[in-house]
Assembly symmetry: C2
Homo-oligomer: 699 residues x 2
């Protein structure tokens, strides 16, 4: 039951539906959709539209859209693209939600046609799903308004798929695997309705427990994150975003024309939102099925029960790979299984009830595992010894599983045809059963992962001189420059409250000498010019300048060298700055993602970033708690935490810098790119040694 009626209620639970292009000819899409609607037991009003009139599946056909006697909740459009473009205005006047199954729009370059659909919908305050979709199924109505397979089993899994062919195949797979579905929506070109709105409904839908989202591109990462954050604790989502790889990303581009954001950023965003991302289709489907069927574990103790030591070891290896904890309290294991353990069995986890174990032994051992409160999840494995014993095993598993529904129990039957058919039977009864032990373990991992709803932490207030920051950015923009000069970037960071050592842009030698003596010796001196990127290469940098005479020498040397090596460069002056002692070099950066907007990055400087690619991303701004997780995520973290007798570095200082950078780029969206490289980190404090920044120049 939906308490506050969601705007998408008529979409998922329509009282009336029109099929524009309903067909008399079997095999045609307009016929298949009609057939599915009728056969799915839809109880609302159905209006097939086709100029030929007549009846389809006994339902009178209207020969014109104008004849539809009401404004329907849902219209399904299956006519060819050209026709669809010409009638969409009429349809929009007669329907609240329009599902445009028709393809031949932006996915093949027909952007204009898609625009027409949208304009018509806007004019009549209608909404469009698609174009280029296979339709929608909703168990709530129930209605199967797709041209995919019929006979969908009602359940608690909702599927949103950006790929049509994959979505249709998934309906077939769902039937094969006995997955029950609450909804299936194909989102295709996403001209109007996208995954975010659908999710916001499905997270409120009482029939849906878990959503499987297959997407290739995502244009609205921020809204997506918002809806993910608002999801109720008992609703789960598993995301499969294809196009991770370079090759995959290329394929996406050719497939839907959607602009895929960087995969590392998508990954970071999902981690930040505490959302489980599947690497592939197999895992994704196994995970969704298991989350749909199983309660979540209440603790970390997993017990493996097996009749074959070998399969037990394989399972234990897989558990280790997925970071699952095998209960190792021998006292409890002995106490639990003592009087049900056959001779030569082993209490050690994997608990080996030996090759002699039949139905009775499994029944007893599993019963004990279910009853022992300190066991939180059970992996029961069976090595098929031939069909004779299999039925006993099946009966035992079914009986015990149904009796104790209190903790997750996943079953693997490894063997031949008999084992396969029993797996099917178990699945039909809603019991998570697998033919591969790795699939069972990976699915248990998913049960642990989906339960982790992220606690976010608070955003606290910090002071920033926003006026000053705005002024600097304004001046740079005024000049039409994209790149900020070193001292401008530093001034902004300073105004944002980041610790920037003293610096001064000197335009004359006298100014440089005065600046050096104000700052205190030794100082570093660097050329400042928007035309010089690699300052060292043109002799534009002198370090460790120790006295007034040396300032004078360095000043002349830099000027002379830059004039000779970069004669056309506009020279702004020479920056004089404090020399920093050596610390741990880190990088704090920010960039702008097409989908998620502002993101921040952290990593250790030098080879850690360049060779090991050891960096972490997050969507900005973000609370300090999450920043700490982000910092701990990098592999070289022990270097900051203190290792080999080195003292712990000031991680809170790094957190503060990232926190402020996150707020800065969020408030000043003009900042497109930002690099503090290095941020020198000490036992106390962290200081900006160098910084770059660029802004988006409005045209």
């Amino acid at each position: 039951m939906i308490l506050n009626v969601h705007p998408f209620e008529p979409f998922f639970n329509p009282e009336s539906v029109a099929v524009i292009g309903a067909s008399h000819t079997e095999g045609k899409i307009g016929n298949m959709v009609m057939k599915n609607i009728v056969e799915s037991g839809y109880r609302g009003r159905i209006y097939p539209v086709n100029p030929k009139g007549g009846k389809i599946f006994g339902i009178p056909v209207l020969d014109d859209i104008s004849k539809i006697p009401e404004r329907v909740d849902l219209a399904i459009v299956v006519v060819p693209a050209k026709v669809a473009e010409s009638i969409v205005d009429d349809v929009a006047a007669k329907a609240k939600y329009i599902v445009v199954i028709t393809s031949g729009f932006s996915e093949v370059g027909n952007v204009e046609g898609e625009k027409k659909l949208l304009e018509a919908a806007k004019k009549h305050a209608a909404r469009i799903l698609g174009p280029n979709v296979f339709g929608i199924y909703s168990a709530r109505a129930p209605i199967n308004a797709t041209f995919g397979p019929g006979g969908i089993r009602k359940g608690n899994i909702a599927v949103i798929s950006q790929s049509g062919a994959l979505g249709i195949a998934m309906i077939g797979r769902a039937a094969e695997e006995n997955m029950g579905l609450s909804a299936v929506v194909s989102i295709g070109n996403k001209a109007d309705i996208n995954e975010v709105e659908l999710l916001s409904y499905l997270f409120k839908d009482t029939m849906t427990k878990v959503v499987f989202l297959y997407i290739e591109g995502m244009e609205n990462g921020r809204e997506f994150l918002e809806v993910l954050k608002r999801r109720p604790k008992e609703k789960h989502i598993i995301v499969l975003k294809a196009g991770r790889s370079k090759a995959g990303a290329r394929a996406v581009a050719s497939h839907t024309g959607s602009l895929a954001g960087s995969d590392a950023i998508f990954d970071a965003a999902m981690r930040q939102a505490g959302v489980l991302r599947a690497e592939g289709l197999e895992d994704g489907l196994n995970w969704v099925t298991t989350v749909a069927l199983s309660p979540l574990p209440k603790g970390r103790n997993v017990v493996i029960v097996t009749n074959g030591g070998g399969l037990g070891v394989v399972a234990a290896d897989a558990c280790e790979k997925y970071g699952l904890h095998l209960m190792d309290d021998m006292e409890v294991l002995k106490k639990t299984f003592r009087d049900v353990m056959p001779e030569f069995g082993s209490y050690k986890n994997p608990v080996d009830i030996t090759g002699q174990a039949g139905g009775e032994e499994y029944r007893k051992a599993l019963e004990r595992a279910f009853k022992e409160p300190s066991i939180h999840a059970v992996l029961a494995l069976y090595c098929d010894r031939g069909d004779k014993e299999l039925n006993d095993i099946k009966d035992a598993l079914m009986e015990v599983h149904k009796k104790y529904g209190n903790k997750p129990a996943l079953y693997t039957l490894f063997g031949g045809e008999g084992a396969s058919s029993i797996i099917k039977e178990l699945r039909r009864e809603g019991i998570p059963a697998f033919s591969e032990v790795e699939d069972a373990v990976s699915s248990l991992y998913a049960l642990y992962k989906v339960r982790e709803k992220k606690e976010e932490g608070e955003m606290d207030e910090v002071e920033m001189d926003e006026e000053r920051i705005g002024k600097i950015i304004g001046e740079v923009a005024e000049e039409g420059r994209k790149k900020l000069l070193s001292h401008e970037a530093k001034e902004i960071l300073l105004a944002a409250g980041v610790d920037v050592p003293k610096f001064h842009l000197a335009k004359t030698l006298e100014e440089a000498i005065k600046a050096a003596s104000d700052i205190g010796y030794p100082v570093a001196m660097k050329i400042v010019s928007e035309d010089i990127v690699h300052k060292t290469d043109v002799g534009g940098v002198v370090l460790n300048v120790g006295s007034e005479e040396e300032v004078a020498e360095a000043y002349e040397a830099i000027m002379e060298s830059c004039r000779r090596n970069a004669p056309k460069a506009r020279i702004r002056g020479i920056e004089v700055m404090e020399m920093l002692p050596q610390g741990v070099e880190t990088i704090v950066g920010s960039t702008t993602d097409a989908s998620f907007g502002k993101v921040v990055m952290f990593g250790l400087g030098g080879i850690y970033v360049e060779v090991m690619k050891d960096v972490a991303f997050r969507i900005a701004p973000l609370p300090r708690k999450e920043i700490k997780r982000m910092i701990r995520e990098i592999e070289s973290y022990p270097l900051l935490a203190g290792v080999r007798g080195e003292r712990r570095k000031d991680i809170d200082a790094i957190v503060d810098v990232i926190y402020r950078v996150g707020l800065l780029v969020d408030k000043f969206k003009e900042i497109e790119e930002l690099d503090i490289n290095p941020l020198m980190v000490y036992e106390r404090g962290a200081k900006v040694a160098d910084a770059r920044m660029s802004i988006g120049v409005k045209k």
Copy 2:
């Protein structure tokens, strides 16, 4: 046909077989084995033995072992452990090979009983498989002398399994997946016959193309490597060694009592031997099946053909993960598929022949892919749209696949029940077909990996002062010491031809001063004492000693400090040595593995080893070519190869050190542990900055 008769010929192709403990009672192991032998169509002589006499499956039963009228090739023992122990001598007198199915020996602590079996076998020059096995199947005879399922399909896959239950289940799975088997051997406790001898036969067996080896422990790693090295190019092996994880290793210990060597070393050994190791059972079985069915790819260009863009992207992602190369030459792709491409299809790889594609489109597109010589492997994907089209697709795939057997082509049918049953049909026809696209991609990866037969490189001669090395080791052993003193370890390395900077053990101040002046200032000075491990902690080290006076000061300071901090330590003197300039710190080490013997290790020093665990292992000794691969394997390799404007370090010098260390520990097996830490590497040369060594002291 086996040209030179292998000693295991009677084992795999017995002319006569006795079943000791053959039973009249259905369901008993002694009955199941008889049933399987008879039903497998075994054409040799069968002698069931049971005191009760009578007939089993029409074959006259002998009431005593002594009545067996010949020395049989194979005897299967199924009587209880106690009985087996008492009759084994009689059996050994009557059989060349004895398969002891009976359990209850070393796996449950009955080590004595197992010893009895072995002694009897030795006495009569018989060999024992097991105990604690499920028997053997050999397609050559054919004979199924197991108590597992019957009806095994003949083929080219041999399975060796250390786990009984898993092995039996695998026979069932093989039938279910239409895998044809050439042999199945259960090795159980490996009291006598182990995987190495079996492999040496199977690599010569013309029926066997690929061996699947499931093991948990390996005691004879060296022999295993030898047989792997000698395997013919056209024979393949896929190894699944369970017990990778700590939990898994514990389970192994409880299961078979076998001593598992370190997993990292096993992994390195497999890499060194060019052997494909599966991480889990699912991959392992998929890989074996595919290698059995498919030709190997002749080049790297993979083409994906799909009717669903989504599934194509998922496949492309998986290819990227496995490092497979998607052909990206658009000219060739266009040329190949131009006139068979439906409207709105995409030439980009994954080649999308659109959701409209039926059997005809698949036939044409695949035919083109098979014919184009620059395409080396094909992944054909089909998103199930409902059962109507499926049969057309199946016919097309079968027809094209059989017509062109020249390159690997793997099929994925993603969808419902119809798709599943077609996969079975395809498999029955020997066509590699999958329900999960990830399984298809991972199997293609296996085809690429198994073809990589390692070219080993030559072992060249290097000079070593073996006499000197032997003398030092001898003296240390004489003293009953395990740990060598710093100068002893260095002297051995020096004698092995490794670049050790000048050093001298000074016993007096005068000697120290002379040594320093001989070596040249500055020098380092370190206490030498077997009782002081952490020299720095007791004030036993002074660096950068620059003059005669400083030597005197340092000498006194060290002596004074060590006497105070470690009053009971035996002081051997003070080592005076050359100060090394800073280079890239690396570690070269060696240890002794229980299974593989001497191994060498390489990594970058400091945090790379300690925090990042970035090291590579190899079995020693090994040729320079393989050492280069070993060095390139570490993630921090770019630091040696030159990165960020740094110059390339002298990698050949590292190779030489590892090469010599490999030879050294191989020749002087007494050296149990060795650490050169750090080995300082420069643009030219690599020098030992410090070394530790320990030897096994004979008792």
